[in-house]
């Protein structure tokens, strides 16, 4: 209450009349309709439009390709979900290694630094090719030979390098006083990480991690290059058979249906995070 008293009272607000509220809304509806209507009219009235529609937006072709593409998309989302969990854990381990102090633990720290440098520097596509084709070709007994498995491993290894850096920034953002307090209470290095630093770090970087999750949601399509029959691969198979690209559009639509809500959730979490930070500094 006492802090409220210092804030100048906001100017008295009168409720706008129906007309005042309606007119701006109406203007935006009209302008949006006119703008996009014009573009749609220009595109569809172009000489090549019927051919474009037939090749890309052919409802019959989309329907025909859809069952296979959808099944492939199921694989994409399954890989995504499992990889997310694996990345979340492995990246955290890497970040913790990297934060360690003390001569005995130095090898872990060095390992983490080298790992992150290497795997961040290699294109995801190259990793997927190396693991997805390379490891099964070795035919090592006891190891799985599925390219789906090794392709997913490649995604996890590569993305973990990024996620580890995200975690690390979150850990470094935790105030030094927290470490001092933990030490003064007698918590060990591990206990300090586990009870004090990591929970705060994760909370700090949740929006950034979700952004990575959205990127991964699309990047799992890279597995199509090593023969995994995911949505993109299935769409390509259809295209190769019929010379019609509508199946690719079907796959694109499926990815959009998945990524747009994820992006919205990320925005929401980021906004909540922002509010929490503001609240704390006031």
């Amino acid at each position: 209450m006492s802090s409220d008293a210092r804030v100048p009272a906001p100017p008295a607000r009168r409720t706008p009349s129906l007309k005042e509220r309606l007119v701006p809304a109406l203007i935006s509806v009209v302008s949006v309709t006119v703008f996009f209507g014009t573009i749609a009219w220009l595109v569809t009235s172009a000489e090549q439009w019927p051919r474009i529609r037939f090749q890309f937006f052919n409802p019959d072709a989309i329907m025909a390709a859809f069952p296979n593409v959808l099944r492939g998309f199921g694989i994409n989302m399954m890989v995504w979900a499992i990889a997310l969990v694996a990345i979340g854990v492995w990246a955290l381990i890497l970040a913790v290694f990297r934060s360690l102090n003390g001569p005995i633990l130095a090898p872990l720290k060095v390992f983490s630094i080298v790992y992150i440098d290497l795997l961040r520097g290699i294109p995801s596509l190259l990793l997927v090719l190396l693991f997805g084709f390379g490891v099964p070709a070795l035919q090592i007994p006891g190891l799985p030979r599925s390219s789906l498995f090794w392709g997913s491993v490649a995604m996890v290894l590569g993305y973990s390098a990024y996620a580890a850096e995200v975690y690390r920034s979150g850990m470094e953002a935790v105030h030094d006083g927290q470490r001092a307090a933990a030490k003064a209470l007698g918590l060990s290095q591990w206990q300090t990480l586990y009870y004090a630093i990591i929970p705060q770090a994760v909370r700090n970087v949740l929006p950034a991690l979700l952004n990575l999750a959205v990127a991964l949601q699309k990047d799992v399509a890279l597995l199509s290059v090593i023969g995994v029959r995911d949505a993109v691969r299935e769409a390509q198979i259809y295209t190769a058979r019929t010379f019609n690209y509508s199946s690719l559009i079907a796959a694109a639509i499926l990815f959009l249906i998945a990524t747009i809500p994820m992006a919205r959730i990320t925005d929401y979490v980021a906004r909540k995070d922002q509010e929490r930070r503001l609240q704390r500094t006031v």
């Binding site: 001092a180 209470l185 004090a196």
Partner: protein, 249 residues
Amino acid sequence: MSMNRVEISSLTKYYGTNLVLDEVSLAVKEHEVVCLIGASGSGKSTLLRCVNKLVPFDHGDISIDGVSIFSEQFNNNELHKRVGIVFQAYNLFPHINVLNNITLAPRKVHGVGREESEERAMKLLELFGMQGYERSYPEQLSGGQQQRVAIVRALATQPDVLMLDEVTAALDPELIGGVLKVIKDLKTQGMTMLIVTHEMGFARDVADRVCFLEGGRILEEAPPDKLFSAPENPRTHQFLQRIIEAGRL
């Protein structure tokens, strides 16, 4: 003669090439309250941090009840159980509630059961007028309330010595009184305390002895009445003069 609870002898500490504590010696008896005063940068916080090994130092020794903090008996946990510290910025853990902030160290470091540690925490909270806040999160509390929780957290391991580092410096004036009262109550209960403060009125009230630090050395050490009204060292006099001019005494 009672033994010295804390005995700091010839403590020397460098930060890089910067001499921060220069052969500091100081003894605190059981039930005694010693206040450290001095200008910013004189080494007060560093001195406290050396006592519970938050920072390493270069020469000298510190002992608790006659035993060096480097002896085997003081594996880290024992030291941190016997010596508590409270910081200016409270440093409560923001992601766990008040009760868990207080019971974390007793449970995870000292192996006290959940029930026992929570019971003790509730008693302490009540003692310091914080009952009903055990499920609150730090950011839901005022600065003064947070600082009282931080004091309770430091007391939860039943330390023999409590060190307080400018615990009211971050508080709004109207909140300072409540925290200072808590500290006076602790003195009444016989807690041995080493207090860094800029509140000269408070130091005069609560201290058995006041030490004036400058440039990493204790320039003068005397009972508050003497040090505040008739300081012997001209530097002490100067420092107090400046404080009076700033309206803080």
